[in-house]
């Protein structure tokens, strides 16, 4: 089973994402902000990170840039999942190395479609 790290400061979102992804046969770890997620990556690198943008301590974009700058990391697939839904944010995320981008609100079909586009399913 593939491991997905769900990074979101909202407990509700993490719970919804976990339920959908478990149905799609992923193992789940959770992190509450970018810093927490980085530490999780150092312990156990996930196959994919589902990443919120706006979070306290370290936001999603900072996390992504930090991960992509690390040459000692086995690079994970990163899928943004955020309420930021304008073209400028999307471009910034993709240029920083995000593989896909989900605009909230999301549902199972969107997660499934995006995950299969990046070859996870």
């Amino acid at each position: 089973m593939k491991l997905c790290l769900v990074v979101d400061d909202s407990k509700v979102i993490r719970k919804v994402a976990r339920r959908i992804l478990e149905e799609l046969h992923f193992d789940i770890e959770e992190a509450v902000d970018g810093q927490d997620a980085l530490e999780a990556c150092e312990r156990n690198m996930p196959d994919v990170v589902l990443l919120d943008w706006n979070m306290p301590v370290m936001d999603g974009l900072e996390f992504l840039r930090a991960v992509r700058a690390r040459d000692d990391f086995e690079q994970p697939i990163v899928v943004f999942c955020t309420t930021e839904n304008d073209m400028a944010h999307i471009r910034t995320a993709i240029e920083a190395g995000a593989n896909e981008y989900i605009m909230k609100p999301f549902d199972r079909e969107i997660i499934e479609a995006k995950f299969s586009q990046v070859g996870l399913m």
């Binding site: 073209m87 999307i90 993709i94 896909e100 605009m103 969107i110 479609a113 586009q117």
Partner: protein, 280 residues
Amino acid sequence: MKTEDFDFLSGMLKERSGLMLTQDKIYLLESRLTPLARKRGLDTLDALIQKLRMRADQGLIRDVTEAMTTNESFFFRDNTPFDLFKNHVAPAMEKARGNQKRLRIWCAAASTGQEPYSLAILLREQWHKWKDWRIEIIGTDICTQVLDKAKAGSYSQFEVQRGLPIQLLIKYFKQEGDIWRLNDEIRNMVTYRPFNLLDNFIGLGNFDIIFCRNVLIYFDQPTKSAVLNRMAKTLAKDGTLFLGAAETVLGITDEFRPVRGQRGLYVPSSGEAEKLMGLG
């Protein structure tokens, strides 16, 4: 709903659109036609049925037919047919039509446009190959309302996230408030027109590729046969036909045969399109 009312409505829908409704779809009649009844100033679905029985109001009949024909669609739906198109069908046509540089594609149930636009995007992604070709993508649907939406090329945030890779969203769409609108370069590649698959196909011309996915499932056996046989006449001998994953030609027509190992892909029985596609 009374049995005679169901029989009346399902008979009318079959005659108009080929749509086959069984008794277990009564809920669908109620959920889709009740809002239509209200829009027409009628209190109940019964009142709507009364009205239809009293007089063959063509406008009302058309609205009922449109409300009942399923219109769910998304970009690159089911992936596989689009991979086949990109990797086998389009290269085969590039070879076979290399002299005349002309390609005609028909999406026979275009709905809100995602399927024809997905094909247009795939061709646009290899534009160096196709830029001096005359490519026609014709999208038809029985429902004029969905075609209006298709022509506009405007989709909700939800719609652009189902099947469309983010890179293609960035490349081919403009954001207008809550709406994502396809660029003109893609929109202009597709023409739409209302068309009923039960009518004759004269006037559509001939095609190299036909997409007719998830439509035949709503038709009874003789209607399926008739539609497929007429499609065979409009399709080039080295052309291809895409059907939905749950659909088949087996036992319905001898005009097409499935391409082995390629679900949903069919070729004229009299031709040898597999070789051309490298699938022989």
